[in-house]
Symmetry: none
Subunit: 328 residues, 3 copies
Amino acid sequence: MTTSQQMIMRPDDANIVGNVHGGIILKMIEEAGCIIGTRHCNTQNGDRCLAALVRVEKTEFLSPVFIGEVAHVTAEITYTSKHSLEVQVKVMAENILTGAKKLANKAALWYVPCSLQNVDKIMEVPPIKYDSTEKEEEGRKRYETQKMERLETKARIEEVVPPPPNPEKHSVGFSQSSLIHLVGPSDCTLHNYVHGGVTMKLMDEVAGIVAARHCNTNIVTASVDAINFHRKIMKGCVVTVTGRLTFVSNKSMEIEVLVDATSLVEAEKGKYRAVSAFFTFISLDKHNRPLPVPPLKINGEEEQRRFEEGNARYLHNKAKRLAEKQQQ
Amino acid sequence: MTTSQQMIMRPDDANIVGNVHGGIILKMIEEAGCIIGTRHCNTQNGDRCLAALVRVEKTEFLSPVFIGEVAHVTAEITYTSKHSLEVQVKVMAENILTGAKKLANKAALWYVPCSLQNVDKIMEVPPIKYDSTEKEEEGRKRYETQKMERLETKARIEEVVPPPPNPEKHSVGFSQSSLIHLVGPSDCTLHNYVHGGVTMKLMDEVAGIVAARHCNTNIVTASVDAINFHRKIMKGCVVTVTGRLTFVSNKSMEIEVLVDATSLVEAEKGKYRAVSAFFTFISLDKHNRPLPVPPLKINGEEEQRRFEEGNARYLHNKAKRLAEKQQQ
Amino acid sequence: MTTSQQMIMRPDDANIVGNVHGGIILKMIEEAGCIIGTRHCNTQNGDRCLAALVRVEKTEFLSPVFIGEVAHVTAEITYTSKHSLEVQVKVMAENILTGAKKLANKAALWYVPCSLQNVDKIMEVPPIKYDSTEKEEEGRKRYETQKMERLETKARIEEVVPPPPNPEKHSVGFSQSSLIHLVGPSDCTLHNYVHGGVTMKLMDEVAGIVAARHCNTNIVTASVDAINFHRKIMKGCVVTVTGRLTFVSNKSMEIEVLVDATSLVEAEKGKYRAVSAFFTFISLDKHNRPLPVPPLKINGEEEQRRFEEGNARYLHNKAKRLAEKQQQ
């Protein structure tokens, strides 16, 4: 139940100073998860199906990856419920000139098998065998936790407000950015909806532009909060991806990214929020050391509320990291 | 009736010295136009349809764009007739490290809505509201002018003659170049014909190679004359794009680009001229200042005729620019 | 000394009926070979180096690969001489919906390690350990054979003659095609010259267009004769790839592909032949069964000579396949 793949990082995968974009890593992770998940779910009778991404757990980018390095992506199915499966993915970056290897990312993804005949029909997942009952129990706990979180989290209904005409430097409106993308065949491969990895790559791209505008330095993705994929984005849609700063600490920026989809040709169906997430970026100097980040200028109650929510997430994550360190 | 998007320029979008290709800018402009046009035309009842590009007005590349800069593309529907609509597009390039912004390009494109059920059926365009009757009147004038020009201009039936075996340096045959491209799914996205932007990108690529072969320096697209899209290029075609120098002034080169399409699977349909256009390139030194261009060696009457026609276009454009300056 | 990777095949990797292009398979094979070879050659002291492709042995495409299938590429270093190494690569195609797997391709590639400091300096290759002295002996034989062939084969100095103005259907000139490609950063990745796999992909693309123009049906790559990479193609070059039919049997077409490179910025260096090869294509019906191929119309002595040489290669390969079958 494992799969592995290797890819050499190319200039187009990276920013000007050679750091591979977090979005490229997320896309590789999701591709590996989709392959292993789809393969597993088709080992039984019934409709042929595809593993569709429904959730990515919070993930951290542990080391930067550079152009010319080889990324090794290893994926393993670690838990199965009746209708979903968990894939854990590890990304190692190898410098093939020096032989040095480093852990770049570890992520956990949840998939559900969708019938190829009928995209709304969820198939059953064949159970896996566990090495021990402890492993199974731990998996069940992770499953229950994410299930509850997914039920609680509705698609954030936050409105996207266009920035004011001449936004002040270091305000939220100053760095707010959005891109539109017409969903093409390569975004969908086997079915009629966009791969989760493609969407995450676009989200990271926009978040990166927001971060760079705020601090005008080399920036990299530090972490991504848990992402729930509420609704599928179908072929023939236009996707609008908007990013805006919610919170800034001394050395990090939190960017909220909202993904809306509209069918180009069936306008009556209206716009819908497909995904939303929080990306955290840091700013680096020439030697890849963190730089201080300019403070965020807050205007209005809405921005103030989002800032406080972001601060709460920041403090919560900090406490969690500290607790984990003390456990070790 | 406006849309805007932002894209970061990547290494593959640019030449070796970092100048983003004019063709990449044209492709972004056309994508924005296609999205806003298709969206507008589907706001009424009847067949679902797609906005197909029929004409791009003469456009100038006002400032070079570099790798790592963010291109902002803003599109607006500025006129609608019964069966066509005009989209005006503006491209700003932003250096996100310094915050500096510059106007890179302004273009006007004409689209007609083609039914998705039947590619030859032209749908009606829902009328837009104008800010003032003056704006509407100006739009009508632009519409009439381009309509007349499109009726007058047939596809140029100029033959493509292969260059002689050992062409002399700086002759027309020396730099003449052509490429073939097999139309793939990503070139077509939603329908069965190639996006106008994809074709313009290929045309700029060939024109750039012709210009670089003539002067062996860093070259950039300075402007493109009005382009009429006479016939659609369907999926399953091979496109042959040929470029050749027609005219050279002190500091600019005019390159005629001819696009022929042949269906690979329906050979009896034969080859047809789909598009033709004139691209103007300039040669730049390390500091992005214009360099003198080597004179063009003319052989034969045909080349002489094309040179004189090119010279007339050059003088006409020069006079027009001068008149515009004096008006200001 | 093995490496493996997996990739899902996308619409852009295939032709209209869904067959993945042979060139995409060759590119994946070469990427795997470059990674394992570069990694191995950097396990010793001295300059850091890159494995540069110098030869691909004759290879056959054993089963078609389709969009949505997962290609598994496994590479192994099977022989090392003082200055070169052999990599054997196997490609399996897996239908992840049914679990069916098939062998798509087996290939052997030869690499030499080039110093990153000085592209013309060939480094030494650390020796590998063999499972048995027989294996080592077999490897040495393959090494000697290919060395002799590479010394004998100079770059084919065949001239590329442009086709006549109105070529007759099914003549050589009728289907002759060429493309130009400006070498971009993604073609080069770590060094200043184009990956062998990128060149092979372009060669397969041109050969496929020639084959489709000749028979106007669905065509696929059946095999590629041994390819020697005589000279590196450096960054800043324009590559001209030309394909023309040399020989046609009942059910196959042999296409000669010639690759010429010219530096755009250092014009004095002139054009040079970088690679040449023979690709064999077959024509398939809807059920992927071979179709008869229209006979080739020969004009002039040069075409006659090339046809006879092609026929000799065809008969030689046929006899070889027969002998291999009888051995089994």
